[in-house]
């Protein structure tokens, strides 16, 4: 049957020849890595396969003629939320098909999503529970693991108190697992529970929530299709959120939109921009104030919007006046004319949206940075409508959900905080006495004899845990130092100062790592005992919901049973709770179903409990049934508006895809979710809203003469469509309903619940703690939003630097600017440990560190890998594409040092003689005096290959130095975010 149409002349092609010629003098990143060879240790023999076959016959390929079942889940990598369609045959995941119906990814994936299936083949997964015995890994049973670990946990509790065990959760959790883990810590009796949001967008959450109410992406990836001007600042979406680029590039093409990338590095996103602005790392605030300088000077601001909906812009004006084009150029390196052009486009070619990621957030001034971005959006009236807003791209598959559900040292689930009212709310939902929780926590006695409970005290963030192990006891503000660390789903190479972290690890009595992979924790330290690895399955092997960056919640079906001896998060938490003695209370209202190893908590049932308590953030309306209906009818949702038409099947008609929070009221109330936050052009029942009245009704602003001026914080003359209150209003309470005469609209049942909660003061019961949902329902029926109609504020008086001011990085390459723009003063206790950033900065300046370490070192993502990278570097389909850790260095800096492209170099950090051995990628992508490293590598430490330290057969395919071996001190004052984007280094040929 061979049909050869005709003989043709062999033509040596022009294309490859052309490409080769144009790239001849400069290797691209792939060529560089290809050339670096396929020498990664542990790699399966290259292409050594049988006669004629493309591969060996495998159980993971479909067998012809056998039935195939299709399961729907989500990609477990970034926050875009791409649907994955899995073909399952005889219990094996054999193929992946495009999920055409998903309005988010429309069938597509990036390298990671398209390689999802490998996670569940998982040759390099952790296969059974293991423990370290005198430095050797031993296989143990789950029962022994639960027995031994819980015994040690209780010993620590006995000896040092509950606060000495520190819990680290995961942005890879489902919503249900994230919530359960937070609840677990509450029942254990500590607020020492954190997750990856600390190191990706904690500053966003704090900064944005303190500006207009909620700290989340205001719009969606899809909505960017409507934008006419798009700014990326500190975001490299082409590598970090590739599928978002489908919407963005389509929008760019359709609207002929301006795409402006501001970044110290000419990223792959910048390659698709209409304007690229290179600036010095860590000078975001001068850039934004520099733009506002032109905007105010030319009157391009939205005066009406500011007057009606913003408080504090006059204070910003005063700060902005200092940032003349000359000063901006002196500090940032950006010429005034370029910034004026960008400012004009952003302010006048509307709608305009501002996208940011970790380039902005991972700084000692991260919270201030994001508040400056919000200020720019507010000044130009670019919030609360289509094509506008703060499009904050979160990093992990469920980092939004895990943040929402309180894996955070400062709050219980859904941003209730840690005060008594918050605890009482959740105690009601959990049907456990408040006093019971109070008694579970340590008490501290102040010098004045006042006893306070740790129950209201924020815990230790993930960036600082090893300081709480290693610092002198008196510097750690809890009964004892940390003795045990319990990690679920979190890499160990994700935070700076790894040499210090290693010391912390070695000093712990107990280290428990629950993960599909052993992670950096398994190999990096010299621990000999007291270390456990528990195999958790991926989210493809469990069911549950996850919240994408745009607040849409999607339901993932279990694709196959957990492979090897791995188990899901729900069961593992249940077993520990049983051993620790609080399972009965904790799982009181959660249904059990038959799982791999017996009864396990049902994900649907956990979500229903979240719904029952999730009023503050509108997590109350997204029942499992509604979310599953959305997954079933994905094809009905519009790809721009994300809305299902009114004539769609009744269970989804009129809904926004994934019921993006807030989705008000009970599930039966059928609120459609909120696609665009704070959009006054829509009725609140259609997803409309106003800025949240979160900061009170009035503010007494201190004046220059020492007096105080009362300022109205409610919006003026602006309200959502068809609101019965045609002006600003505070948040709704039972008392406010009574004043308005709307309490008569409550049902008797709702009144009974409210009065039951309120006790002696039912009037104080607010929309956020009313478990009946009645207050929300009545407010919405009158066209009002439950959280009130306030002004956004650009003067966040309760935060350091209420109006953001520029502060030089701790390790700045411009020490001469430190006198004028110093970092914030030292603090004796911030999140229970000292923050001595000022001292560190001063020492660095005094010692002339910038002369010895003259190159700025920054870090970021590669498309093939994610996070700490253990999972993705274990996937050969991905690992083959990036086989070496590298540092990008400018040709001028390389020439000065005799460094060749592809050659080995040492990167030296300025603290403690830290160093990393990596390959050099000589490229103009980074400017002169700037180096950049990806943060996904691990397995090497200061030049030593630690492959042998992994349990046999679980070492990732590709290993390399972690950038965090050479990164340094520096923490945001509001959230404890580390400085991940600016430090200094020296580079020498190795």
């Amino acid at each position: 049957m061979l049909i050869k149409r005709k003989e043709g002349q062999a033509s040596r092609g022009s294309l490859v020849a052309g490409l080769a010629a144009s790239g001849a003098e400069r290797l691209d990143r792939r060529a560089f890595l290809r050339r670096s060879g396929l020498t990664a240790g542990g790699v399966a023999a290259i292409g050594s396969i049988g006669f004629g076959a493309v591969r060996e016959a495998q159980a993971n390929m479909p067998k012809p003629g056998k039935p195939v079942e299709v399961k729907t889940n989500m990609c477990t990598h970034c926050s875009v939320g791409c649907t994955v369609k899995a073909e399952v045959q005889e219990g094996v995941w054999v193929g992946q098909e495009p999920a055409w119906d998903s309005p988010i990814n429309r069938g597509t994936h990036c390298a990671k999503g398209a390689a999802s299936r490998e996670l569940v083949k998982g040759e390099r997964r952790l296969k059974y529970p293991m423990k370290l015995v005198n430095g050797e890994w031993q296989r143990i049973s789950w029962d022994i693991a639960f027995d031994e670990i819980s015994k040690k946990m209780l010993e620590i509790r006995e000896k040092s108190g509950p606060e000495s065990l520190w819990f680290l959760g995961s942005a890879k959790f489902t919503n249900e697992a994230a919530y359960l883990f937070r609840k677990f810590a509450a029942y254990w009796g500590t607020n020492n529970v954190d997750h990856q949001a600390r190191i990706c967008h904690s500053t966003t959450v704090a900064g944005v929530a303190n500006t207009w109410g909620y700290g989340a992406q205001t719009n969606s990836y899809n909505d960017i299709r409507n934008a006419k001007t798009i700014i990326f600042m500190g975001s490299n979406a082409a590598e970090a959120h590739p599928v978002s680029m489908q919407h963005i590039l389509t929008g760019k093409e359709t609207n002929r939109a301006n795409v402006i990338v501001l970044d110290p590095r000419m990223t792959r996103t910048a390659a698709h921009a209409t304007e690229y602005v290179r600036f010095r790392s860590g000078t975001d605030i001068p850039i934004i104030w520099g733009m506002l300088y032109h905007i105010f000077k030319n009157g391009w601001e939205d005066k009406n919007f500011i007057a009606q909906r913003v408080y504090g812009m006059d204070l910003v004006r005063k700060e902005v006046e200092k940032w003349t084009p000359d000063e901006v150029e002196r500090v940032t390196g950006v010429p005034g004319a370029q910034l004026e052009k960008v400012a004009k486009q952003f302010a006048t070619e509307k709608p305009a949206t501002f996208i940011w990621c970790m380039g902005a957030t991972q700084h000692t001034i991260g919270t201030a940075n994001v508040r400056a971005f919000c200020t720019l959006l507010l000044a130009t009236g670019n919030v609360g409508g289509s094509g506008m807003g703060a499009n904050i791209f979160r990093g992990h598959t469920n980092v939004q959900g895990a943040t929402d559900l309180g894996l955070d040292v400062t709050t219980l689930p859904l941003y209730y905080g840690l005060d008594e009212a918050a605890w009482r709310h959740w105690a009601r939902v959990w049907e456990t006495d408040y006093q019971w929780f109070f008694d579970r926590f340590d008490k501290t006695t102040a010098p004045d004899g006042k006893v306070t409970s740790m129950i209201n005290t924020p815990g230790i963030p993930s960036t600082r845990w090893f300081d709480a192990v290693m610092l002198p006891k008196e510097q750690v503000q809890q009964r004892d130092k940390l003795k045990g660390v319990f990690v679920m789903g979190h890499g160990g190479n994700t935070i700076p100062r790894m040499p210090d972290m290693v010391k912390g690890l070695e000093a712990l009595d107990l280290l428990v790592v629950c993960d599909p992979h052993p992670t950096t924790y398994s190999h990096i330290s010299g621990r000999k005992n007291g270390t456990y690895l528990l195999p958790i399955c991926t989210n493809f092997e469990a069911s549950g919901s996850r919240t994408a960056s745009n607040r849409s919640i999607q339901w993932g079906e279990q694709v196959v049973d957990p492979i090897f001896e791995s188990a899901n998060d729900y069961w593992v938490m249940l077993k520990f709770a049983e051993k620790l003695g609080f399972a009965r209370q904790m799982f009181k209202n959660i249904k059990m179903v038959k799982g791999k190893y017996g009864d396990e908590p049902e994900a649907e049932s956990i979500l229903r409990e979240i719904n029952r308590g999730g009023w503050s953030t509108g997590y109350c309306g997204q029942s499992p049934e509604r979310i599953k209906a959305h997954m079933k009818h994905q094809d009905k949702f519009d790809i721009v508006t994300l809305r299902a038409p009114k004539d769609a099947p009744a269970e989804i008609a009129g809904d926004y895809y994934g019921l993006p929070w807030p989705c008000w009221g009970t599930p039966e109330y059928r609120h459609p979710g909120t696609h665009q936050l704070y959009n006054t052009n829509l009725h609140v029942k259609e997803g409309g809203g106003t800025f949240r009245a979160r900061f009170g009704v009035e503010y007494e602003e201190p004046q220059a003469d020492g007096s105080k001026k009362k300022i109205n914080l409610l919006s003026e003359g602006s309200y959502s469509k068809d609101s019965e209150i045609k002006d600003g209003y505070p948040q709704f309470t039972y008392g406010m309903l009574k004043k308005l005469g709307w309490d008569k609209d409550l049902t008797e049942n709702e009144k009974t619940v409210i009065e039951g909660i309120g006790g002696n003061a039912p009037d104080n019961v607010s929309w956020a703690i009313d478990l009946s949902g009645g207050i929300q329902r009545v407010a919405l029926e009158h066209g009002c939003i439950p959280f009130g109609n306030g002004k956004a504020r650009v003067n966040a008086w309760n935060l350091p630097d209420p109006v953001p001011v520029h502060r030089e990085p701790i390790y700045t390459p411009r020490p001469e600017l430190v006198a004028k723009y110093p970092t914030r003063p030292d603090v004796a206790a911030q999140f229970r440990v000292p923050n001595i950033g000022f001292t560190v900065q001063k020492n660095a300046v005094d010692k002339g560190i910038a002369k010895e370490f003259p190159i700025i070192l920054s870090s970021g993502r590669l498309v093939e890998y994610e996070g700490g990278g253990e999972e993705t570097r274990s996937n050969p389909w991905l690992a083959e594409l990036q086989q070496d850790m590298f540092v990008e260095i400018n040709p001028a800096d390389a020439a000065d040092r005799g460094i060749k492209d592809g050659g080995w170099v040492w990167v030296f950090g300025p603290e403690g003689g830290s160093k990393a051995r990596v390959k050099a990628l000589v490229t103009e992508r980074v400017g002169k005096g700037v180096a950049w490293m990806p943060f996904h590598f691990g397995g090497w430490f200061q030049g030593v290959d630690q492959r042998g330290n992994y349990p046999k057969g679980t070492d990732p395919v590709v290993l390399g130095e972690s950038v965090n071996t050479v990164t340094t001190y520096g923490y945001d004052p509001v959230t404890g975010m580390h400085e991940g984007k600016v430090t200094l280094c020296q580079i020498r040929a190795a």
Binding site: I3, K4, G23, R55, T269
Partner: protein, 198 residues
């Protein structure tokens, strides 16, 4: 009959490599064999562009012209396939191919080559469509199931298009007309002896 082609819109390609891993996933292509890859020019400089490349399934395919054992054939959909039973791993096709598509597994020391492997346009090989033998030698046969190559179907930005040449040319022309720029259909002149008039 449709004339199947590939088209990569370099103004959309962000070098995310989904096409590469989708191919690995679909056909379990082993380490070291790359049926598809992404090439970037002007890496890190203004004008940086990426193109996803694989066998283009040329008109008058040069590989076929040089093959000493005549193992290539062109299907009715104009997909260029080959028989691994006939292939002797000589490597001539690699030198003839303008796109660097042919790949060879290393079967022993001293660099001897195994049977050539390349992009099949997700259309298998000479064996019966969807048979176990076809699956083992060439990977899955999507075309026989009425599906297009997975690399294009999963492309994150819909830069890589696959399908009837006339239809994808039309999609590309409309895109260029709408946005006002386009760097042309990469490789079309070489592969198909034609370009898309913009």
């Amino acid at each position: 009959m449709a004339r199947m082609k590939f088209l990569c819109d370099a103004d959309r390609c962000i070098e995310c490599n989904a096409c590469v891993t989708a191919c690995k996933n679909e056909h379990e292509v082993p380490w070291g064999i790359n049926r598809r890859r992404v090439v970037t020019i002007n890496d890190g400089k203004p004008g940086e562009r990426s193109v996803s490349m694989a066998c283009m399934h040329c008109t008058d395919a040069p590989c076929a012209s040089v093959c000493p054992v005549n193992c290539f054939y062109t299907t009715a959909d104009a997909v260029v396939l080959h028989s691994k039973d006939l292939c002797i791993g000589c490597g001539y096709c690699f030198y003839a191919c303008p796109f660097g598509a042919p790949q060879y597994p290393k079967t022993a020391n001293f660099g001897s080559r195994g049977k050539m492997d390349k992009c099949t346009y997700c259309a298998g090989g000479p064996e019966v469509d969807g048979s176990q033998a076809e699956l083992d030698k060439y990977g899955r046969n999507r075309l026989a199931e009425g599906k297009l190559p997975l690399c294009a179907e999963m492309c994150s930005t819909k830069a890589l298009l696959a399908g009837d040449g006339d239809i994808i040319a039309q999609i590309y022309s409309q895109r260029v007309a709408k946005r006002g720029y386009g760097s042309g259909a990469w490789g079309w002149k070489v592969a198909y002896k034609e370009t898309i008039s913009l």
